[in-house]
């Protein structure tokens, strides 16, 4: 990185940047087309960096951009060293990184370590016979009975995790689609080569990786082949390599497991820096439908503490379906009946919908859910298009329904591409409610009361309070089950606000009280805030001072789906009586 770039200037001092960052997930193919071929590309994204900077994004997360036959949206990599030609070249990635750093943003990318495409030259060689140099790079077996305790993830399309290869006359192992054979990490050449891949892209300038499907790297008899100690050992090796050679980079794990299992992937802050928190997401939706906080507070109570330097990645929607693996069967039926009334919306064990249609296009709910996303512990991850309330097209196959072109303008092809309409990789949305004529960046930029401006404002407020990223969280109990209240605090729970303290840490401390109404009806709440007695709540978006906290429970009323973020500040003339 060249001197003078905004990110590099602070990188060494701020290796924990990801704890306070807002991530933005970009589908390169769907974001912007710079060469009129109907498909988005890296130069297209470079041209939209000013927009992302304006919005308040700290880190861009790219879905896979590597060479691939694209039978699984690029998660079937056929060459780790090259970029998919229609997206650009390695030099374009380097330019994207430089331009992002210049704007104070970082870039991470998906990396699939568990498997490759069946068209990867390694597999082409491996399947020829059992004696070639790559023969042991994949997991081969004479029968399909090994590892019989392993679940099948894509139950809609795959009957078994073994597939027969007539060429080699053996079965190969695949945790996902049968065209994605699993790499054999017991082979030291494989383990070393994947570290080469990581170093290569960090040298290009990437700020880290979102590691796809990490729980499945190793296989062992008599286990479910998930979360094995060997997998953790390999991640520690990867982390050590990254931290020593490339400080300030981030490893973000995708491990769709219960939080108590996922925390294993943080290790002692010696595996991944970040992990996605999967079960929180469906529960945020469930809380709004149930009009009560327990789906959320239950999962937070089940979430163990994580090492200091680590952070959860939290999200409302992403490129995959609304994942329901982490809710109970009964809740899954409920989520299905609530959110997927049309059976086409069900995919695998989830629901393939974007945020706006999931909440019946109710902007109040969208804002409430984002207020939770931006204020609960963890780094929020936005999905491209959700900031303007884009819809989906459930009639497109597989997961394409939520991967339609970004809607930039009311012009031809949504301002996404100047190619012929028929040449577009997917048609943009054109329906009267969510179509690009109605929902687009240009129109919302001009309208100060748009969802887009609201998002920008909230991200701005969030950025002013690092406590949202790094603070402790304490749920404030209230009798009203429809109200969720919590205090984010830069002091550990139990130490903040004890009155009479004039400790310097206490004076510099930041406390934010978040209160949300999960009900479609107005609600009152009495909050036991005596611990913060004498402090004054200041509403953070408008800086409106509210009455000081006294000895009695603090009373607030909330509009339907309403919420508040209050900064708690010590009054200049504070009384210590009581």
């Amino acid at each position: 990185m060249a001197p003078g770039e905004r990110v590099s200037g602070t990188a060494s001092a701020d290796v924990r940047w990801y704890q306070r960052a807002v991530f933005y997930e970009v589908l390169v193919r769907g974001f912007h087309d710079s060469n009129d071929d109907g498909s988005g590309d890296i130069q297209g994204l470079v041209g939209k960096l000013d927009y992302l900077q304006w919005l308040g994004v700290d880190c861009i997360w790219l879905l896979p951009f590597y060479q691939s036959p694209l039978r699984d949206g690029g998660y079937d990599i056929s060459d780790y060293w090259t970029v998919l030609p229609e997206f650009g070249q390695v030099a374009d990635v380097a330019q994207l990184v430089d331009e992002s750093h210049r704007r104070g943003m970082r870039v991470i990318a998906d990396l699939v370590m568990n498997h490759t495409s069946d068209q990867h030259p390694w597999f082409v060689e491996s399947r020829q016979d059992s004696t070639n140099p790559k023969a042991d790079w994949y997991v081969w077996s004479d029968d399909d009975q090994r590892y019989s305790q392993v679940r099948t993830i894509f139950i809609d399309t795959e009957k078994s995790n073994w597939a027969w290869d007539p060429q080699r006359g053996q079965y190969y192992w695949h945790r996902f689609f049968s065209h994605q054979p699993d790499l054999n990490y017991d082979n030291p050449d494989v383990a070393d080569t994947m570290l080469d891949v990581v170093r290569y892209w960090l040298d290009v300038g990437l700020d880290g990786f979102r590691l796809d499907a990490v729980p499945y790297l190793f296989e062992r008899d008599g286990t479910d082949c998930e979360n094995l100690p060997e997998t953790h050992a390999y991640l520690r090796r990867l982390r050590k390599e990254v931290d020593s050679l490339y400080p300030g980079k981030v490893l973000l794990a995708e491990a769709n497991q219960w939080p108590e299992d996922v925390v294993e992937y943080f290790g002692n802050d010696d595996e991944c820096h970040m992990c996605f928190h999967f079960p929180l997401m469906p529960r945020m939706f469930m809380s709004v439908r149930r009009e009560q906080r327990y789906p959320i507070t239950e999962i937070l109570a089940r979430t163990p503490d994580i090492p200091d330097g680590c952070s959860w990645g939290i999200f409302l929607r992403n490129h995959d379906e609304l994942t329901l693996e982490m809710v109970t069967d009964e809740e899954r039926d409920y989520m299905w009946s609530e959110y997927a009334k049309d059976p086409r919306m069900k995919r695998n064990i989830g629901i393939g919908r974007r945020l706006a249609p999931l909440v019946d296009n109710d902007r109040r709910v969208a804002e409430l859910l984002h207020s939770l996303l931006f204020s609960l512990p963890g780094s929020p991850v936005l999905y491209y298009g959700d900031e303007i309330g884009m819809g989906d097209n459930i009639y497109l196959g597989d997961r394409d329904g939520v991967r339609t072109p970004m809607q930039w303008a009311p012009d031809r092809n949504a301002g996404f591409s100047r190619a012929d309409f028929a040449q577009l990789y997917l048609p943009p949305l054109m329906d009267p409610v969510y179509g690009y004529q109605a929902v687009n960046v240009e129109a919302q930029m001009r309208n100060p009361s748009s969802l887009l401006h609201w998002m920008r404002r909230m991200l701005e407020v969030r950025a002013q309070h690092p406590v949202f990223g790094t603070g402790s969280m304490e749920v404030v109990s209230t009798d009203n089950p429809s109200v969720l209240a919590y205090v984010r605090s830069s002091l550990p729970a139990g130490e903040g606000g004890a009155h009479g303290t004039t400790d310097e840490a206490e004076l510099r401390a930041d406390h934010v009280l978040c209160v949300g109404n999960l009900s479609r009806f107005a609600q009152p709440a009495q909050l036991p805030l005596q611990r913060w007695q004498g402090m004054m709540p200041i509403e953070l978006t408008g800086r409106v001072p509210f009455p000081p906290i006294g000895e009695l429970p603090y009373f607030v009323t909330l509009a339907p789906y309403g919420f508040y973020w209050f900064g708690l500040v010590r009054r200049a003339t504070s009384s210590t009586g009581g």
Partner: protein, 479 residues
């Protein structure tokens, strides 16, 4: 925190003179009007290093035949305002330069009392009183510990302290962990438990579900409760499961007996007499039901039960349901409250509560909405009673505390629903006549429905929410 101890001491004369008036203003005072006389039976000063600028007095007094525990703060008149802020009604009175008040509202005093009651084992930096209940006063410390100060004393063990401690000792995890038990001369005076921060009582949660349902039903007409966003059935089923586990833990802690069998014929006869007394017009229609109840061969074992089980006695927390307050029905004599009975008494209590809740919320609605909402109310009750019973009966091992045959089981359950509804009707007529219509409607249903319909086993509840209104299960109490 220094040392704390009780030192025998006399209450100031001026204070003693004010106690009659003070007692008569308290919700936990059992008598009507000011007592003829107040006798101080036991009185002491709480000596604690941390108390500065005030004195904490403790006393047990007798008034009109009942005994009460008092905790009184004393401070200079000039300073008392600061300590009473927001709780001015806690003032007992002033004389000269001294003022006396209920010490639970004073954080400093309440903490000194916690130190005393726990023998120094528990500490806190903040205390706040909760709203007053019928027989006790509760103080929450640091949102971590709740201390119940028993006001009206019965002498001996307090059932709540006794049962909670016994259940916790069996490993039953749905009671808040006991932390403090303060006793003197064999009598329970205060009981402290883990405070269930973030909890909501079942009544509030049920009302949340109902408001959501009525919100949908009032705009789109009849609306199956299973399809509404705020569906309560999964909660009701988990509540049923927890209730069954509680009863198994009760049997484990206190044992079982066959007392119920001996009491059964007498119990049904009393029901008949009560019905004759309270709802004579309905008795002829109920003849079939009473005949059926008399035919019960084995009403099952007698077990120590909760005794006053309803939605307000259970608390939903992040760790599931918890059960609270084992005092029993406050208006029944202690001896009756302690007597082992059928566990179906508790089951019936919850079913009654699941009828009360939807009817209670109907009172907030406009008359024009009632036809459609009334249907929704009954569908909600049916669905959640079924879910509760299914969760209860599905609990492994529960049959050992139930009547041996399903026919007797359901008949006993209906008998206790009848018992509870009659009790409610008497209570409502005396204290809240506007609400008498709710138990009245339940009694009409119980006494006029064919007995065989009432004692049918519970219907199924599914996740699709397509309850068939014709497929009326045995749950009782529908308006």
């Amino acid at each position: 925190m220094g040392e704390q101890r009780l030192v025998p001491d006399r209450l100031p004369e001026e204070l003693t003179a004010m106690l009659g008036g003070y007692l008569s203003r308290q919700r936990w005072y059992a008598g009507k009007g000011e007592p003829a006389s107040v006798t101080v039976q036991d009185q002491a000063l709480v000596v604690a290093d941390e108390l500065v600028g005030g004195r904490l007095l403790w006393a047990v007094v007798e008034a009109d035949g009942d005994r009460y525990q008092l905790l009184v703060g004393e401070r200079p008149v000039t300073e008392v305002g600061e300590h009473l802020r927001g709780h001015e009604d806690a003032l007992i009175g002033t004389a000269g330069d001294r003022a006396w008040y209920d010490a639970v509202v004073d954080s400093e005093m309440a903490i000194a009392f916690l130190h005393l009651a726990s023998g120094g084992a528990e500490d806190a930096s903040r205390a706040r009183p909760l709203s007053v209940e019928q027989s006790n006063t509760s103080v929450v410390y640091d949102d971590r510990l709740i201390l119940k100060l028993f006001r009206r004393l019965s002498g001996g063990e307090n059932p709540d302290a006794e049962v909670t401690s016994a259940l916790a000792a069996t490993g039953f995890s749905h009671v808040a962990a006991p932390l403090v038990r303060w006793r003197r001369n064999g009598a329970d005076l205060a009981f402290g438990q883990q405070f269930l921060a973030g909890g909501t009582d079942g009544w509030a949660l049920a009302l949340t579900s109902l408001r959501d349902l009525y919100g949908s039903a009032s705009t789109s007409g009849p609306y199956p409760p299973g399809a509404s966003g705020g569906d309560f059935a999964a909660e009701a089923a988990r509540l049923g499961q927890m209730t069954a586990e509680m009863h198994l833990a009760m049997a484990d802690a206190f044992g079982t007996s066959d007392e119920t069998s001996h009491q059964w014929p007498g119990f049904v006869s009393v029901l008949e007499q009560q019905a004759e007394l309270l709802v004579p017009a309905l008795v002829p229609a109920g003849a079939g039901l009473f005949r059926r109840l008399h035919q019960v061969r084995d009403p099952g074992p007698a077990v120590r039960a909760h005794g006053d089980y309803h939605l307000g006695q259970v608390m939903r927390t992040d760790a599931g349901w918890y059960v609270l307050d084992f005092e029993g029905e406050p208006n029944r004599p202690l001896e009756e409250r302690l007597r082992p009975t059928s566990v179906l008494k508790d089951v019936a209590g919850m079913l009654r509560s699941l009828q009360y809740a939807p009817q209670f919320v109907l009172w907030e609605r406009a008359d024009s909405e009632l036809p459609v909402l009334d249907e929704a109310a009954r569908a909600w009750q049916r669905r959640n009673c079924n879910a509760f019973l299914t969760g209860y009966y599905d609990c492994k091992g529960i049959e050992q505390v139930l009547p041996p045959t399903p026919q007797d089981r359901e008949a006993v359950r209906v008998a206790f629903e009848l018992d509870k509804a009659l009790y409610e009707l008497g209570y409502e007529r005396a204290y809240r006549p506007d609400w008498a219509a709710i138990p009245q409607a339940a009694l009409e249903h119980l006494l006029s429905s064919p007995a065989e319909e009432l004692v049918a086993p519970p219907g199924k509840w599914g996740n699709e929410g397509e309850d068939d209104p014709e497929d009326d299960p045995g749950d009782a109490g529908q308006a």
